[in-house]
Amino acid sequence: MGMTIVEKILARATNQKSVKAFDVLEPAVDVAMSHENAALVINQFNEVYQGTGLEPKVWNPDNIAIIFDHRVPAESSKTATNQKKIRDFVRFNKIRKFHDIRSDEGGICHQILAEYGYIKPGYVVVGTDSHTTTHGAFGAFAFGIGATEMASVWTLGNVLNVEVPETIKIVVNGKLPANVYPKDLILYIIGKISAQGANFKVLEFHGEVISNMSMSGRLVLSNMAVEAGATAGIVPADVETERYLKAAGITEKLNFVLPDSDAKYCQVVEINANELTPMIACPHTVDNVKSINEVEKKHIDQIVIGSCTNGRIDDLEIAAKIMKGKKVAVGTRMLIFPASWNIYKDAMKKGYLEIFADSGAVIMNPGCGCCLGVHQGALGDGEVALSTTNRNFKGRMGNPKAEVYLCSPAVAATSALKGELTEPAIGGF
């Protein structure tokens, strides 16, 4: 019996010829990523060593990445103290893949792992963040874990008791219409299979739309796979993966892990991209997805473009083209937070930041804070936000009495100019 991508990766990571769904394994980890919640991981890690007489040392500092992004710069003394504790740990353990609050290395963890070439096809990647699924875009098996599980990984270098997930094959053929983007596609998929439709399963993306999609778009798909409950969302590696990693400075030969032609899938979902429209995830679940024309037009108080989902340079380019020479509607505020400082500086050179600043949008430093309501950009009672981020749960942007709608950067930028939900123009700006 042939194997899916995740089965092949897990066979390699456990030195076996083959594995199958529901086998229980302890795969070796290639990259273990944390952000500020490394403070809790450190506590749990020390707890593991308690009473053993052994000195707490991570199994391999080169496989660990730590990036500050959730509350940067620190919004409170508590956070600052956590960050200080992590810096001390990083220094003591000689962790080099550490990205501090600096404009020459910082950004959102998932963007940093991608643009620094830390993730390669075939890797097993774990992160103490549910959007670790992002890295499936490189043909890797990447999944979110909790802090205690990370402490276990830091100790042993393996994830314990992993049950090999079944795989749902998503096949997207046709061509995305001119105002429809990868974000619309993944929202459509989540709406179709539901927020729990892929729970404990992997999504494997196939079809001509995926082959023709840039890494930036693939990162959007894999990033939001978790919103369908998926353990991971994997795009088979190809020439585009190779192009992206080469640009990130990776010169070594890559080992593409591709599915066998007779791999066993638990479900196959076929999608005709020609029929898609801009999609909106309405409050308060990500699977409450409607075509933009079916959503009631209402005043938008806050527009957000950014996050690990849609804060890359092509996202900012789309928004800048739509907003050039125009103004954010009176009564609406717009926040833009690029996914990394490299993107920020690229957008500065290309003139996008000037366009945003002239339009009335506020450009924020790269980080996660606003998306999950922990640091700036909170909503007032009864307010409505339209955002390119990834979650619209009640209370997500810091206020359970507010509403969050999710959309593509094109919808966000177009709507910012009107102050209400507006469909982007087709084939031009």
Partner: protein, 164 residues
């Protein structure tokens, strides 16, 4: 025996269980105060101790969203039993890792005020007299629960590794 004090629907996220704005608080001794912080009555009765060791029931996909482990430690701190039709993956794993045994019971019929008891792989609703099958944890996850959580489980592996 414990009383059902709250009934949730589908897709209760970890943002609902433990809102993001409290995430800088990480210690299991401190997280319980923010348990369901945006559900005023629930939070108040948990913090007063009135609903300690009681039962929350939910439909599908309880614990979806963020991987924040505070969502498990905050529930554990109040001694709550959570019975749901099913749980989201990361939350389920985090709970097991901390020794919080979640009960998956797809057919449960119970309402707020009912007394329930978990026995012999069944949830028994003492108020109605009906009982409902529990979906047992996969063996691999049960091993962690039986070890008392992932920390002692990992510690044993660490010690074994260093003996070799």
């Amino acid at each position: 025996m414990a009383k059902v004090v709250y009934k949730f629907g589908d897709d209760i996220s970890t943002d609902a269980i433990y809102p993001g704005r409290y995430m800088a608080t990480v210690l299991p001794t401190e997280t319980p105060q923010f348990c369901f912080a945006d559900y005023a009555e629930l939070n108040k009765n948990l913090n007063s101790g009135e609903w300690k060791n009681s039962v929350l029931i939910a439909d599908n996909n309880f614990g979806c969203g963020s991987s924040r482990e505070q969502a498990a430690s905050t529930i554990l701190g109040h001694g709550l039993i959570v019975i749901a039709k099913n749980f989201a993956r990361i939350f389920l794993q985090n709970s097991i890792n901390l020794g919080l045994n979640l009960i998956t019971c797809p057919d449960l019929d119970a309402k707020v005020g009912d007394d329930v008891v978990v026995e012999n792989n069944k949830v028994v609703n003492k108020t109605t007299g009906k009982s409902f099958n529990i979906v047992p944890l996969p063996e691999a996850r049960r091993a962690i629960v039986e070890a008392g959580g992932l920390i002692p489980y990992t510690r044993k592996k660490l010690i074994d590794k260093n003996k070799k």
